[in-house]
Symmetry: C2
Subunit: 376 residues, 2 copies
């Protein structure tokens, strides 16, 4: 038996790993739909792109990719030219570097609750004390008490799995509160490619507010590129964290080929690719929602646009049991318990269904779910 497919799952990723070979795998939030014709064309041109990057100065290539991706998601003010955007192999690696830098400052961090558990796990591994901040209050622009002894606030926006995001007024209010209280603001914005309402220029807003900030960006949730992806760390001019130093211990540079690939896909996304992706996710959410109508379960977060959906279970069911029952039939979903890293009571009420899949797979998953939850 493989070491990583442990029987007693210790975190959400181990559930996702054990679903990698599933008959119907809607466990992980990675993009697993078939590439669109345009994306396939870019992927077919990989050898040409490789030949081209071999002669291109690295710094120009990196800055062009960063600018291309970040402006495709509305971030014109991202500090690419100023050298305040760092590239990493993935957003989790970026998170690890941020965790290390926060630990060096002995920061006490207020972290959104619930959220994907590798965030609290990475921060805890670095010895960082965490205080849960409920997302209901954060989206209202409030940093829930107690904050007296916080050094930083860490918010996933849009949040995973709920899709909740900070509106412009809410983010401004939180930024201003951070300035007032001397707090660093860290935003994990990995899912923002799906949420056009969170594509207002965050860098411009936060620099205007004058808050010390770190943003973690991600290309990895969007395009089916066999995990060829990038994470980015963008940070404020006033940022005192040792981010460049930590990153240089972990990598010399990301792949020139992947930089080029991201640049090409970002360009294509702006010219209709994003709209197509957003339609796929919206349609998959509708299919799932419709299939569960009239059953004892239901899709919640109707306003969410990110590539996962939460399903609320009937009162008598638990996520752990439902996960096991569905798995026996070859359907892998993700039980939501571990998202509730501070251990709230509602943790067993939800499972998560990935929507970054082809329509036929979602239909198959939806049918199984409907059969399972159909009230006799």
């Amino acid at each position: 038996m493989a070491q990583r497919t442990v029987a007693d799952h210790d975190n959400l990723t181990t559930y996702e790993i054990s679903a990698l070979n599933a008959e119907i795998g809607v466990s992980d939030g990675h993009p697993r739909q078939r590439p669109s014709p345009g994306q396939r064309e870019v992927l077919n041109s990989l050898p040409r792109l490789l030949a081209e990057v071999e002669t291109e100065p690295f710094e120009e290539l990196e800055k062009r990719a960063q600018r291309g991706f970040l402006s495709a998601i509305g971030q014109q003010a991202a500090p690419v030219a100023a050298g305040r955007v760092l590239s990493a192999y993935s957003s989790s690696l970026a998170m690890d570097v941020v965790g290390r830098a926060l630990a060096e400052r002995s920061a006490r961090v207020g972290l959104v609750h619930p959220t994907f558990d590798n965030i609290p796990d990475i921060l805890k591994a670095w010895g960082i004390p965490l205080v849960p901040l409920e997302e209901e209050q954060l989206v209202e622009g409030q940093i829930p008490a107690p904050v007296g002894d916080l050094d930083a606030v860490f918010i996933t926006t849009p949040n995973n799995p709920t899709g909740t995001f900070l509106s412009e007024p809410a983010l401004r209010q939180i930024g201003e509160a951070c300035v007032e209280r001397g707090l660093l603001l860290v935003l994990d914005v990995c899912f923002r490619g799906f949420e056009t309402r969170f594509q207002y220029d965050t860098y411009a807003l936060l620099e205007e507010v004058g808050v010390e900030f770190v943003l973690i960006e991600d290309t990895g949730k969007l395009w089916p590129t066999s995990e060829l992806k990038l994470g980015f760390i963008g940070f404020s001019s006033a940022c005192s964290l040792a981010l460049s130093e930590g990153m240089s211990d972990l990598l010399l540079s990301v792949s020139p080929l992947v930089l080029r690939l991201v640049g090409e896909l970002a360009g294509q996304a702006e010219e209709g690719g994003f709209a197509e992706l957003h339609r796929l996710v919206a349609e998959n959410r509708r299919v799932l929602t419709a299939a569960l109508a009239g059953t004892s379960a239901r899709v919640v977060d109707p306003d969410s646009r990110i590539s996962v959906a939460r399903v609320e279970l009937p009162a008598e069911a638990t996520a752990s049991d439902v996960y096991e029952q569905l798995k026996e039939g070859g359907l892998h979903v993700l039980p939501c318990g571990p998202f509730h890293w501070a251990g709230q009571a509602e943790e067993e009420r939800y499972v998560r269904i990935a929507l970054g899949r082809d329509r036929d797979l979602i239909e198959a998953a939806a049918e199984r779910l409907r059969d399972h939850f159909l009230v006799d």
Copy 2:
């Protein structure tokens, strides 16, 4: 100015980053030679490989790539089938996961000295107390005192930048000493693809000795694949470190496409590709050595076969000064000071020259060096 090309270099990688666009860049040890015709053929087939991996079960693909690569470098007993080989985006990420697991055990680590500074830097970031172990004694099979309060021994073999490696008797002796004293043995074997004398089956030997061990393997030093690469962590059946847990916080899976690419290149390496690579490195070392004959500098470590060479400077020169002088002429070398992470006196005596380059670039670098060090 870019944030990462800091003026006052804090580690070796920042020197290497500032050399990425150099006229003659022999700073970093990454493979930057032109792909061989066979490698180019594999790279040209990336679109086909991508289409193939889209339908292949991930676990099989991963195990096949791990087995292909590890057996190409003599590691038939690597515990692939047992699930005790973990894949990562890079060897540095693997190192980070090992550092985290050592920190969880509050391990005090004896670390080879000198070695590439990102190893002590990553371990120190995790709060791990380090004790320097001189490589001269380690290669004799001795763990230098004091070891009374060590929990683990960490050895880079072949070592960077010296190329020194542990012979089979020396490794056996160190393994046995670790068993006797209850020490965990960690080996960074990232450069072993160049050193056939360190391709005896390390896993078989260490399992026979019965020592608790962790090995960090790397495909990233070998082939010019635009940084598409993998790091692996192989560990003993008796290994108590929480490696899988740490890895699952940082990644769900590596890229199926990169797994396939590594498998293809490993197969090709066994069938002549490694011999060709070893010839390139040996010829480049000869060119450099010959060019410096009769000058005030000289190539040392004549027995080394790894893809970097150390150049000893004349007594009156320092590595920092020579680095700056050569850089003004467009030649980027790596000053060896930071390799001596425990701060020994000889640290300013060497610069390092990368050999994983095309012959003409090495000739150009060698000529500049000869001009610089020619005794009037």
